[in-house]
Amino acid sequence: MQDKLKILSAAAKYDVSCSSSGSTRSTPKGGMGNGEASGICHTFTDDGRCVSLLKILLSNVCLFDCAYCSNRRSNDIPRATFRPSEVVNLTLEFYRRNLIEGLFLSSGIFGSVDTTMEALVAVARTLRVQHRFGGYIHLKTIPGASPDLVAQAGLYADRLSVNIEIPSEEGLKHLAPEKDYASVFTPMNSIHQGILEHKAESRISRHAPRFSPAGQSTQLIVGASPETDLQILSLASGLYGRQQLKRVYYSGYIPVNRDSRLPLVARPPLRRENRLYQADWLMRFYKFQFDELVDDLHPDLDPDLDPKAAWALRHPERFPVDVNHADLETILRVPGIGVKSAKLIVEGRRHGTVRMEHLQRFGVVLKRARPFLYDPFAVGLHRDFRPERIRPLLAAPPESTQLSLFPSPLLLTA
């Protein structure tokens, strides 16, 4: 059991999604476990990532031969397969000790795509029906799985995901000969359809079954293929808009295989990954459009500046902002001001004038925000808004001390 767990959790670790949020499932009668809407981290690994779910593969035996994957058919590695009862038992015992929020189950493709998908669904069904388990279940949808199985999966899981992996179809076909975009987008669209239909039903009857209540997510590998940040973010923005995904995860490419189709990299592109997460955050919580952050002139995010600061420096006409009069959306666009502090500003100004000392208390990073703020006591200063002067104040030190300015949002469960 120790060895199996070791192999099948190590094989699953490159799937970066680990969030347990978005479900409000209540504890089943006579059972155990519920969903916590904000998600809960139970521990953190040495790389600082949140451990929330028991993330394992049912099997690392795989018929596919994707260049970027450590479990591909042509790799000579130890292989293992869990019995469904072993996964069920491990999930329940870990859950009871409060070690996890639930199960994240994926698998290599053994037998056929549908046999694999069926096995994943069976584990979820046993947990939900037989053991009355109310904790979080995230099921991976195997690319190409039949709509019928996907529909069943949605009834037991809190979240479903299909990984796109490579952010362009040519790239995907090149690196993963058995996959194409149709095999990814067909299940993704049918999950989206399922969620919409069940939402419509639940408006009519409160007894309507829930379908993947925490929505769906996907993962893009960054740096294994030549796409620009513009391509990646426009794809992500489309996924948030059309398929209404809850999350898109970005995984900096880590070379696990020697393969002539893949680039040679010394270290995973962690800073690029971090900038993409920041941009993603801006799209989801700050109402930015992807084409405000990257465009044909700037197809890649500036590695030395966070994307919000980069946007602000390109738009001197939008500043300075007067926090006492501007609307919430405008305040949100000031570098150094987050969602929480912006809301406090709007709440506070009903009672009086918000001054610099208040901003500091509200958690605004004044060092970053000050050049962009209207300050009645600093007459004349803000007229001299010169991006080239402000830039050095905001730029991150060179790559060696990466990730020091902001925590990667990957670690926050949302």
Binding site: Q2, S9, S26, E36, I40, T45, D47, R96, H351
Partner: protein
């Protein structure tokens, strides 16, 4: 003609009101301070206070009835949300927080009309909000960091050592999640424990000296099968890590070292 001078002096004498602890104790002290119309007042709990020079110490006995009326009054004036914020702020046990809450309540109770809301531009009000957030943040963390071990009799037990007094904030979460089980969460710093048995939750006091000091000692009280699962958990923890991405700073921010001693996967 200066006959009222002694009176002024006696009113201006700094006073500390000492109560037995808890929300009810605090509210009783607030009522007492209000009744005496004392201008310079600190409020502190019995165990954790040091009198200052020239300070008059008055002890207050908890009056649950009076406390309930005070709580109702506060809820009527500023709503349940603010009442629960005040409660969470007091649980932070930060030095001086009780006196800060008293200053804000004094203003509210004296000239407050209902529905005024909180004014976060006021430093005292913001301090209460900040203290409440600290407590709630830690309680949220411990929804994850509580580690149950299974005793030979099948009941679950856990020991934690949080900075703030979060047991009562944890109770609803774990009661909803494990309604069938008997479990217990002990706070080693405060010598109190949360106990769930047959759907009933209680907070009891325990002798802190009798509690294990770190996760190995907790494990030694567990059953053999339980130790097997703890070992499996450590295996999982090690193998889910990606060494190429090691980031000690981020780890320290997300999982501060002070919490490690009761986590079997990190040890002390």
């Amino acid at each position: 003609m200066n006959t009222c001078a002694p009176d002024i002096v006696s009113h201006a004498t700094p006073t500390v009101l000492v109560h037995p602890g808890g929300f009810d104790g605090f509210l009783t002290a607030v009522c007492e301070a209000f009744r005496l119309e004392l201008p310079l007042v600190r409020i502190e709990s019995e165990g954790a206070f040091e009198p200052e020079l020239f300070e008059e110490v008055r002890t207050v006995e908890t009056d649950p009835h009076l406390a309930e009326r005070a709580a109702d009054r506060i809820a009527w004036l500023c709503g349940e949300t603010i009442l629960s914020m005040i409660r969470a702020a007091l649980l932070s046990e930060l030095p001086g927080i009780q006196s800060v809450v008293w200053r804000v309540l004094r203003g509210l109770l004296r000239d407050g009309a209902p529905g005024r809301g909180r004014n976060i531009l006021d430093p005292d009000t913001h301090a209460i909000l900040a203290a409440a957030e600290k407590t709630r943040h830690e309680a949220h963390r411990f929804q994850g960091f509580v580690r149950f071990s299974k005793a030979p009799d099948g009941s679950l037990f856990s020991v934690i050592a949080p900075d703030h007094d979060i047991l009562e904030l944890l109770a609803p979460h774990f009661a909803a999640r494990f309604p069938q089980d008997s479990w217990m969460i002990a706070d080693a710093k405060r010598g109190r424990c949360l106990r769930h048995h047959q759907g009933e939750v209680q907070i009891l006091s325990v002798d802190p000296a009798s509690l294990p000091r770190e996760s190995k000692a907790v494990e030694s009280l567990a059953s053999m099968t339980d130790r097997g699962f703890q070992e499996l958990w450590r295996t999982y923890y090690r193998s889910t890590n990606i060494p190429e991405r090691a980031n000690p700073k981020l780890l320290a921010r997300n999982l501060p070292r002070k919490y490690w001693k009761y986590l079997p996967e990190r040890g002390s």
